[in-house]
Every structure is written in structure tokens, then in C-alpha cells.
Amino acid sequence: MAEFTMPSLGADMDEGTLSQWLVHPGDQVARGDVVAVVETAKSAIEVECFHSGTVDALLVDEGTTVPVGTPLARIGTSAESRPTTDRPPSTPLVRRLAQDRHVDLAAVHGSGPGGRITRADVEHSEPEPERAPEHAKSAGSSQPLHTGIRRQPGTEPARRKRSGSGAEAKPAPTTRSTKPVRSDDSTGERPVPPRVKSSPLARRLATELGVDLAEVTGTGRGGTVRAEDVRSAPAAEGAPRPAVPDMARAATARLMSRSKREIPHFYLSTTVDMAAALEWMHARNRELPLSARLVPAALLFKAVALAARKVPELNGHWVDDGFVPAEEVRLGIAVSLRGGGLAAPSLAHADTLSVVEVMAALKDLVARARGGRLRASETADPSLTVTNLGDQGVEVVFGVVYPPQVALVGLGRIVERPVAVKGLLGVRPMVTATLSADHRAADGATGARLLTAMDRLLQRPEDL
């Protein structure tokens, strides 16, 4: 038996709110599956499970705030806790059929080998009598959630609040005539609420406004929920928002105050000639499909990551009055959130990724950070953070170190400048890179090495 506990999703996190369970007792989970959504001061984060097995019990209700380390669920890791079921054996196809026909499999006599229920058994059995309307009415509020394991973030606005245990739920008739959608997990029998038919705009609005689509009466064709229906619906109470700007602002405020209070900063700055890097990037872009095209930030980030590997004295954390170098380069990417505040999701092993991979990861991370859908593993403390304000038009950024890290690289806009090159005046694309560092952990000379290494790397972009 293993315990799934409230994870620490950042150095400054000491408690978290379990906003949503994505599994139920009896569900099979595998290591890495997303099992819950935890609301931190910064954003809602999907939390992965570190054990494989069967969910035995959920110990904490949705909406409860608990300290880091509190057991949230028990997971049976071996045969000790098979899902408690007396269901006769059946194949997934048969279960699907039974669900479509509202047939309760427990009531069906299996005529196949070993009592297995066959297709014919389902076809010949009586469907369950229609349930009382109040059951159907409560579908949105008390029915178990769509499992959502491995689902793509954002595809289904996870808005339904659950109060019942859901352990003995049975296929329920739907409020609308839509067919129940089969869950994609292996247990199969557990019913899922019907997919609410809604327009893409309505879906997006529902997420933004915190409206539970299942609670909205659709007025479009075939009961489709339209934007207007969402706008006129009351916001779901206590629904988790993708990002809570005030909390994010508060978290950033706390962290930055701590940084400026505790860390004696020093700052270095250098200008880097980007001509070679950009020329190489443009050549590379000609070979790449449009979707994979590089932007200068990818090269700059990769250069920072490699420089961090060469200067390990700045790649790590200040813990208990001492510097602890990190074992890998986890590059933190400072992302400004809509509505204020900052998130710094991390790019693991940034120094070993190709520039194209860095580019892809960057796009993905930024989009999900802004959507408030980061994975727990991505919020684990970065070893060095980069803040790039070039696209905001500024030329130089002097950042604030993100504790407990000891350094932060700031990148400005690439600007064409007259520069003397080999005794001649030329116009070159130049970028100003700055380093803000913790003087307790390093000195100017160390910082200078990092910036110089970065500059050198960018002069040989083909080696990035």
C-alpha cells in the first residue's frame, strides 16, 4: 500500500488545495498518470502519481487545503486491493454495448465460458428501468468525473464538483439524448457523464468564467450550449479557475520580497553579437517546417543552459547557508501571466536538448503556464532562471534572483547597432544579456564566466 501525498510544487509552497480528483476508488493508475488537480498560490497544477496500482481510498475531499506531505489517497500497489467488484467477467466491447443499452451487467447472467457475459446476453436482457429524474438532474453535481487520465490539458473543462464517493455508481440515463461517452480507462464499467454538446466558443467562455457546462441549458441546435447560454449562466461556485491572478500576484510579491530581503544581489551585463546565431537560425529555418521554426529565444535559452553547465557554481540552490550545485540544468523560464504575476516553469535537461527541442518545449510550456495547466514535474525548482523581455521591446533586463536559486539571466531585445568589428564599423544585431546573482554564492568573476561562455556559444551556433 502506497500513499499519494500533497506534493511540494515549489520552494515557497507549504500547503495546497486539492481542487479536483481525477480518479476514483477502484481506478487503476500507472506511474505518471495525472490523478488530481492541486491549486497552489500560483496556479492549478495537474499532479502525477508516483505509484502504479489501484486507488484504494481518497482521504481528502475536494476543496480541502492541507499541508505539503499530507496523505491524499491510498494506492494499492499489488493484488492486495483489486477493485472490489462482483461483476461477472466481460469484454470491453460487451461493456460498451451494455452502457449504450443501459443494461446493468451485474444483473446479467453470463452464458459464455467461465460465466463470461457475451454480446448475446446483453442483447437479450432487459434494459434498466428509466431512473427517477432527480438522479438525472444531479448528474452534473454528484456524478463521478470523467477520469481524465492522460487527457490533454484544456480539452475538457474540468468543472464538475463531486461530493459522492462514486464507488457504486451505475450507468445513469442522461439528461439529454446524447449517448454516454465511454471512458478511456481499462475498468470500463464506471459510467461517465455525457459529453455536453457545446460550441468551441461556449467551451472557452465557460472555462474563463468558471461556469459548469453541465449545469447550463443549451439553446442551440440539438441542445448545444452556445456562448449566450454560458454568459447568462451563473458562475459555478468554488470552481477552480485556470489562473488566479490575485493569488499569483501575491505569491510573486512574497517571493520577490524574500529575494530582495535575503539575497545580496550583484549585476553584470554584456552585449552579445547575434549575427552568426541569427544567420545560422535563418538557414536552419529554411529546412524546418513552419510549425517548428526557431525564434532567437530558443538559441539564447540553449546558450544559457550550456553556459550553466560550464559554470556549475551558478547552477543550483542556496540551502541552509550553503550553495548546493544542481545535478542537471533545469532552466526556469519566467512567464508573465495574464492578469499579473509570474510563473517560472522549468525546462528539464535544457542543456541536453537540441535547439529545435528547446523551441518546441518553450512554446508548449509558455502556453500551458498561461493556461494555468502546468504539470507538477514542471514546477519543480529550476536551477537557473532566464527572463526574456525582448519581445516586450526592452533592451536590458536586470532581474531579481528567484530563491533559492542563486542567479538569473536577463535577456533584452535584439537591436541592430553600429559596432566596430575587426577595426571597421558595421551594423550588427546585438542583444544585452545580464546576470543577477547572489553574492553569497558567487563573485563577479564567476558571473563573468557565465556571460562570456554564453557569448562564445552564440558565436558558434552550429554547436548549440
Binding site: 460550441s199 468551441p200 466558443l201 461556449a202 467551451r203 472557452r204 441546435r221 456562448a227
Partner: protein, 336 residues
Amino acid sequence: MSTRTRPRAHPDDDSVTYREALREGLREALASDDRVFLMGEDVGRYGGCFGVSLGLLEEFGPDRVRDTPLSESAFVGAGIGAALAGLRPVVEIMTVNFSLLALDQILNNAATLRHMSGGQLGVPLVIRMTTGAGRQLAAQHSHSLEGWYAHIPGLRVLAPATIDDARHVLSAALVDPDPVLLFEHGSLYNAAGILDPSVRSVDLDRAAVRREGTDVTVVAYGGCVSKALEAAEELAGEGISAEVVDLRTLRPLDDATFVGSVRRTHRAVVVDEGWRSGSLSAEIESRICEQAFFELDAPVERVCSAEVPVPYARRLEEAALPQPAGIVAAARRVVS
């Protein structure tokens, strides 16, 4: 010849027809640039099958306004040769149906030479032709195949829908260093209106918003723009505010304009006189879904021609083509 030169549909007012507007554009082009000449079947002595070039032979002489034999492939090919040699030919093909006889020249030569010569050879050729139905000319003179040409890289495909666009489209097309196809909808030739003196040119890169609205975007081009506007008027009476976007250029498509409009209205109806399967309307709908899926509040509707050869009989022809009533119905479906 002055009376023949400028026949007036409405001699009492200042309005001009689409046909006259095109002719003014041609006259201006011929007068302002010695390299420009017009050729095609019956463009000279007959004055053009649709009367667009009436009087131009007398004004500019047989070197500049040339009748050609009935051989689309030959005279389009000659146009390509003349363009390569430094002239600015305007070639008229009677209808888009006949243009298929010159498709080899248009697709394999005009559209590809720039690419195949590594940029050394451009074909600054303008090809004008009639398209569309609505005049009881039966299947072989009534089809809307401009979407096929809009499929071809290397071409610019235009469909002027208004008097002002007809007046100024040619000068803009002649500036293009590559082949430009001009599709004139047959039902528009007699449409009349007052030229806007403030319009001096046509921006070929931009679609035009012909009517602003907030509830649904109706995307149309060429002969269907007026039907879309008519539908918008009727919808306004029901309290539905329709925005009408005139594509104006079918290739390259100005998706920024119509997608931008859909982002505001959240609903779209695409009107296309071509057949639905594999049509320009399919491309437009696809781009809307690719670029503004999460802005959509209803599936995109299409109003296209029935997938039959356009019938001769008037009632059947009307039934086969997109009509304002069909556009209104589609708009109602997307907003309700």
C-alpha cells in the same frame, strides 16, 4: 464613333455599368502604357462577346486590340510569349469553361515559369474571363471554376464584385509581375452604379468588408456578393446583424480579414457559386476552423451551387444557384 464608344445604360444620370467600368479600366491601361494590348476572340470588331471592349479597336487600332482565331491555347500561349518578351498583354477568354482549353498554357507555363526559371522569367500577363451562371446560358457557359484556378500557386486570382473594383482592378493587375486571372461574373455586366471618385485604386491584397455586422460573417465573392448583401438586408429586418466580406482576391486569400470578422461575430456562412465538394468554400471554412475554432459558436454553414451541371431552364437554374433566401436560411441556422 463616339456614341458607340460609350453606350450608356442610364444616359440621364452619372451611373456606369460594370461593363463600362471595366472598359474604362481597359482604356486607361491602353492609353497610359504602350506595352499593353488586348487580344481575344471577337474583342475587336465585334466589341467583345460581352461588349466590354466596344469601341476600343476604333480608338487604339488593330495593333493594340487584336482579334484572334478560336484557339484558346494558341492565343493564351501567344500572350505568355508576349509577356515574356516585355509586353503587358491582356487576354480575354470568353468564359471560364473555354479557358480549360488553355489550361495547359495557364498552369504549365504562365504559373510555373517564374519558379522553373529560378526567378529569371516572369509572365506579367492578365487573363480576363467571364464566369458564373444566372443568364440561362446552359451548362457549358455557366460554371464557376475560379476555385480551380485559385488552387494553383503562381497565379493571382481576382473576382471584382463592385463597379469600383471593376473600374480599377486592371491597373492593379497590370502592376503584378506575375500572371493575374480576372473573373468577371456574367450577371454583373449590366449592374450599374455611381463610381466613387475617392476610390483611385484597388488593394488586391485585401478582402473588403462590404457591410458591417455583429452576429454572423457572410463570406462571398464576385456575383454572390450582391446576393449576400441582399440577404444581409433581409436579416437586418429580423434583427440579425450580418457582416458581408467580399473576398475580392481568391488567391492569395486574405484570411486575416474574414477570420478577423469571424472572431468578432463568432459565426460564419460561406457563399460560393462553385460546387461544394473540394471548393473554395471548403478552403475558407477550413481556414476559419484552423484559425478561429475556439471563437466559433456554431458550425460554419456553406451555401453553394447544387452539384449538377448548371441547368438551362430558368427555374431550375435559379434553384441550382446560391440565392439570397438560402443565405438567409443558413444565417438563421448559425445564429439560432
